[in-house]
């Protein structure tokens, strides 16, 4: 199978970016992702359920995330929930997007400094 070019996914859609970011270093189920995004953005970004699962499906199809086999301890687990984690490709895409955003912020800051003079 041909390796997908991570650069081809940029710029990332807002929802994609938030979902990938919420899966960094952790495995999450749908509700967890929704809550994490909500808290991280102080309620500014809410990914609604149907949009969330539509996006998760696309991310899985494109190979940016995958379903995790690992489950939490039995008392915390809900059998109906599925857990997701980042793939290597997803991680690369997210890094590239972060770098792109940082570069843009730097550009804005440079422009502002020029303006101040």
């Amino acid at each position: 199978m041909t390796q997908k070019d991570p650069g081809g996914f940029l710029p990332l859609h807002n929802n994609w970016f938030h979902i990938l970011l919420s899966l960094v270093g952790t495995e999450q189920h749908g509700y967890g992702i929704m809550q994490e995004v909500l808290e991280r953005t102080s309620g500014a970004v809410r990914i609604w359920p149907a949009t969330l699962y539509g996006t998760l499906q696309r991310l899985i199809t494109d190979g940016l995330i995958e379903e995790s086999d690992e489950r939490p301890v039995a008392e915390l687990d809900d059998a109906r929930r599925r857990y997701y984690r980042l793939t290597r490709l997803g991680r690369k895409v997210l890094d590239l997007e972060c770098r792109r955003l940082q570069e843009m912020i730097r550009m804005v800051q440079r422009k502002r400094r020029q303006e101040a003079y």
Binding site: H29, G30, A50, Y53
Partner: protein, 899 residues
Amino acid sequence: MNRRLHFCLTLYRRLASAYPHEFRMLYGEDLDRLGEDAVPEVWRRHGLRGLLRLLADIAVQLPVMYLREIRQDVTYALRVLAKSPGFTSVAILSLAVGIGMCCTVLSEIQPLVGPPPGVRDPARLVTFWWSTASYPYFERYRDEHQVVAAATAVLGPVPFAVAFAGDRSARAERFYGQLVSPEYFSTLGVTPAAGRFFSPETEKPGMPPVVVVSDRFWRTRLAADPYAVGRRLRLNGLMATIVGIGPKGFQGIWPGYTADLFVPATCDASVAPELTGDPLNRYDREIFRVVLRLAPGVTMPIAEATINTITRNLDREYGVPSGRDGKGRMLRLMPAGTFLYITPEQHAFVNAFNVVLWALVLSLVCVNLANLLLARGSQRRREIAIRLSVGASRPRLIRQFLTESVLLSFAGGVAGIVLAYGITRVMSSLPVPSPSPLEFNCQLDFRVLALTLAIALAAGVGFGLMPALSSARVDIGPTLKDGSQAPLRGYRRFGSRNLFVVCQMAVSLMLLVVTWFVAAGFLNTTRLDVGFETGNLILMSLDPARDGYSAERTSALVAALPDEVSRVDGVRSMTLAGSVPFASLTSDRANTRVASQTGDGSGGQVLHSAFRDFIGANYFATLGIPLLAGREFDGRDQWQDEPGPQAAVPAILNQTAARELFGGENPIGGRIREDERAYTVVGLTRDVPSGFLVTRPIATVFLPLTTEWFRKNPAARATILLRATTTRSTLASVRNRLASLHPDLTVFDVRTMREDLDRLNSFVEWQAAIYITLGMFALLLACLGLGGVTVYAVARRRKEIGIRMALGARSRQVQALVLKEGTALLMAGSVLGLGGAFAIAHAFAAFSDTLARTFAMRPNNPALVFSAPLVLAGLATLACYLPARRATEIDPMAALREE
């Protein structure tokens, strides 16, 4: 949980449950669980607005999910179709050819049977069948308001020499137009694109010449000049003002004879020589075609009865002879705006024939498509079973099949439209054989196209659904084990596929036989012996009146021409003619009534229909048609002064006319009468076929082309026929000679007789080619259908054949086993098809001359009858034989090991 939350959650679950099956299999439970968590949390944070936003999200995402699945289906279907290029190309090609042919068959006939474009409510427009009327008669018909809502008189096509500059020396071009009564445009319900049209108030005798030009003329000749209205053109040497421009697409009431100029019939005869002799006030100048718009609720028979009553009253009033039986003239009406003179019955026949042809082709295409899709469905059962076993839903599989068949139908439809468009373009660009400006403007009929496409699409969807439904009911276990050889649930030995093949064979054979009969008829026509030598025979036309010649100058010109032209080097003989033999497909028709006269002066045998032709001296010698008795016209007959009414003018009869007028007696010296004129028969010539599609020889009376005739018919054009030693150099010499002697005379339509006949031949051959292509198409589809079924049967019986061969069956026995089934289908289809074909051909032969002629040849020509079925049988057997031979190549070990 409060009621609002409960209601919201119920609604959420309902919407979530409507998500696509495969999505629900993966995320359904998660989505439900997330809803249960999110609803109270959203209520807490955002209240009612939040709940509404939550519901809106799930509702909006629902169609998105389905669209995503459809996109996947389409991508998958494209991949699947690309993997079987044979199947895909055959299906698309057969649909394309079918749709293309269907649309052409019905669109082609539209310019022939009308109605013309741009006319309001054409169904209520009628005209006289094979009959013209005088202007006073027309005025009486027009004023019969209880039956006739409006009426107009039309004379045309009429040539005009048009010069765009006012200068007299400006070179004139020839355009065709119509001389029309002022009510023309209002009767047809046509409104001007610019300026005004004619009306009885504005167009009165003695008014300055005016003209309405067509949209095409305005665009191509006036460069779409926005100030064209008010501009002046020189028409036949006189200045005329453009008062209006016709609407787009409107070219007059007769669709074939397109008109670019419309001049009121009230104009002066100097603008249009056709109007010489005050035809507007002469009851005996029956030169106008009358178009009536029937009053609401009036049917054609009622109008016919009223018109006949008025005609008989007028005949009595003017003392017009009322025919031999004394019952008076009987006029028949037909729909106006048709290319041909056709009765309502013929109109219905032409429509019915083409609709039957259309239906046959279309049903053949549909049956073939059904066969292909069914065969393919049965081959894909293992794939379906695998998809079902890994969780695909049955509706999704059905949708997948539907997507494939819709894609096929769509691709076939698009290709069909392109093909139909191409064929109609070629048809329109073919030169139509006719002495007048005939245009066969074949355009794609979009209603026909839409209907054909809809049926083809419906067939695609319907027949795509059938294998999908049966395959989706498949038992997964046995199918996975046996693959495509597992029987379908409810499969019978003579299943729907075999039924379809029998239908396909039958319909193919019907189509093949009918098209073969029509094509054979057409091709017979092209092999017709014209009856005279056509080599080195040159034709050229003159129209002195439109070059500004007076009647006297014309007479002098025509008197001098034979001598002038005969002196040119290379001219062996030369003659003049009023009409050209074989100028069109059906050029000659009865145009007079002639009676033989006995010695005592009383009337003898009355011949109602005869063709009267005016010819010059040495006509038969120039054409090379030998006279059977008597002599042909010479200079004495030609240039005599106008004889008195009792003086006998010489006439020459053809064999048919002589037989009908004089029975077995020698006609030479006999006398005949045409109205009040008497003629003495001086010669007898043999029958020469009078037209391309005219099967019977027509009784023809040849009269001398006299100076008197030119005086009486100032608008007539004459054709010079000359037999040369070499065509090209003689032609140039004659043209030079004419140009030096008569510099203001335009010589046009210069061609050889061979070219004229080739033009006719190519038109007829094109018609035949269309029918032959249709027949070939039927043949191809039949073979494909039968071949497909046999391939399928062989695949299904692979194991059985393997066992038989392992037990010692020989190749021949295996072949016979496979061929038996195909031959049975072939026989059943042939019997049905042959019966149907003869029923159709017999029914239509009653109406169609071409079909009748072929049909009449049937008893003497067994090849004609049996060639089509034999070719079909041969090719179909081959289509069975090839898979049968492949069946013998089955390796028994491999076939058995596959299990």
